[in-house]
């Protein structure tokens, strides 16, 4: 089994206190449902967990209708310098992680 690919996060490096920032995440993955005739066997990500300073911001559960290379955008209001942690998990329990720090001046 191959390992999960490295995710890509687009997030500002800094923000003003109270500013709403946009966070974009992308991970390359076939999201193969296993339903296709003569297609590859099932290989799906099941979950994305986004935490800010250890607290859950957003948790996604993926089912068959989520596209290949899952891409998500969401918005967070920044109050203080924070570390974001992103974890994707597939059905075999493998994970991919990314981390980002946003400085609030």
């Amino acid at each position: 089994m191959s390992t999960l690919s490295a995710p890509r996060i687009r997030i500002p490096r800094s923000a003003r206190a109270g500013e709403v920032i946009e966070i974009r995440s992308l991970i390359e993955h076939p999201m193969e449902t296993g339903l296709r005739h003569d297609g590859p066997r099932r290989d799906m990500l099941t979950r994305l967990l986004v935490r800010m300073n250890g607290e859950t911001v957003l948790a996604a559960e993926f089912r068959n209708g989520t596209s290949a290379n899952p891409y998500h955008v969401f918005f967070v209001r920044m109050d203080r310098t924070s570390t974001f942690d992103f974890t994707w998990t597939d059905e075999a329990g493998r994970t991919a992680r990314a981390e980002a720090r946003v400085t609030v001046a």
């Binding site: 709403v20 296709r36 957003l58 948790a59 068959n64 209708g65 596209s67 290379n69």
Partner: protein, 143 residues
Amino acid sequence: MMTRRRSLLALALLPAAAAATTADDALAAAMREAVGDAAITDGGITLRAPTTAENGGQVPVTILAESPMTAADHVTAIHVFATANPTPGVASFRLTPLLARAEVQTRIRLAEAQRIIVLAQMNDGRVRRATAEIRVTTGGCLT
């Protein structure tokens, strides 16, 4: 003769009707699994999706539920369903008040032209609904 024609007609209609029932059952089951038996009311959600998606494999969808996203009043989950896919489930998003607004942008796949349904659950148990009809030029290779 009439009887025979009728029975042929019935036979011709049967598979389609059976398939529709199975899809409806799967959708109802998926929605019940997501929000239980809570009453669902329309509105309170802005659902942005293309009217025609060229590539059913990558259809951009934006869901924005009306909510102040405070500890006292926030959206706890957004569920997305594709009514005519082989399986209706697309994704469930668990939201927290750390989000500035109850908005998630994602990309979904649609096997054919269909209606998508979005449900937003509030922390007080209310459930809102929005739908969108999307035409699909090239289906999203689900089967």
